[in-house]
Symmetry: C2
Subunit: 134 residues, 2 copies
Amino acid sequence: MTAFKEHLSKHDIKPSVQRLKIYEYLHNSHNHPTADDIYRALAPSTPTLSKTTVYNTMKLFISNGVATVLNIEGNELRYDADTSTHGHFKCKGCGNVYDFRIARAPEFNGVEGFRIDKYEINLKGYCNVCKPKL
Amino acid sequence: MTAFKEHLSKHDIKPSVQRLKIYEYLHNSHNHPTADDIYRALAPSTPTLSKTTVYNTMKLFISNGVATVLNIEGNELRYDADTSTHGHFKCKGCGNVYDFRIARAPEFNGVEGFRIDKYEINLKGYCNVCKPKL
DNA sequence: TTGTTAATTTGTAATGATTACAAAATAGAA
DNA sequence: TTCTATTTTGTAATCATTACAAATTAACAA
């Protein structure tokens, strides 16, 4: 995909084979994969891939603004190629992470004068597939 | 503190010596300590304390509703005795975690019919002490 | 092409938080 | 006291992430 190549280049990321594959996977998968998910998904078609490369690449992607990291579960980092403002819902039943739009932004009281670089809304509960099974 | 004892009892937590000390520390400290912070703060006055007890106790506190867990940083869990709705701001300069009130709640689009049990707003950036030093 | 240097990727070992687990200590009831 | 359930403890295991140095690849001048 030439579009992906250009997107990475535009953000000062040299589009190596590994970086392109990782970005393509991240962009096409909407399940907010962990580094391990990415590694396991790409390893068969990229036999030499190293998990360290996945971590390195994700750090690069985040600091250059083509991905974000998701702190919704304490013991794992999840990644998202959608850098627009949106929230995440993690279902305690199936474990899926759903995106949602923020229809009305919250207002804060107590961080006046602070510089806010990142803003994350995380919900947890049961999705409408799992809720009836409780 | 008898008030703490009653608070724990009311939530079906037997107020053992360890649990009381941990709850008291968590309640009085407003820095959202990690399990390790709690352990290091109490170890001198509770020589037999085990870190496993801190983890066990925090799990119990959370499932019985006297504390919440904070996923603001990927590699660590932080705890909070304030179970009311509020947000957290982590400063990338000093590392402090500040509380703030949510003056106007956000509205979501895309989780209709979901059961929402927990709702977390995390901000990151620079507080007004660290911002001028950049 | 070849040679040289910088950037990228890789594998292994280390780190650090959390959990599993079983033994020891303690509390509560009979 | 004695018995039993609960709580606490220490150690070992797990698992995600990072550190680091060697190997590979890319860029590019000669």
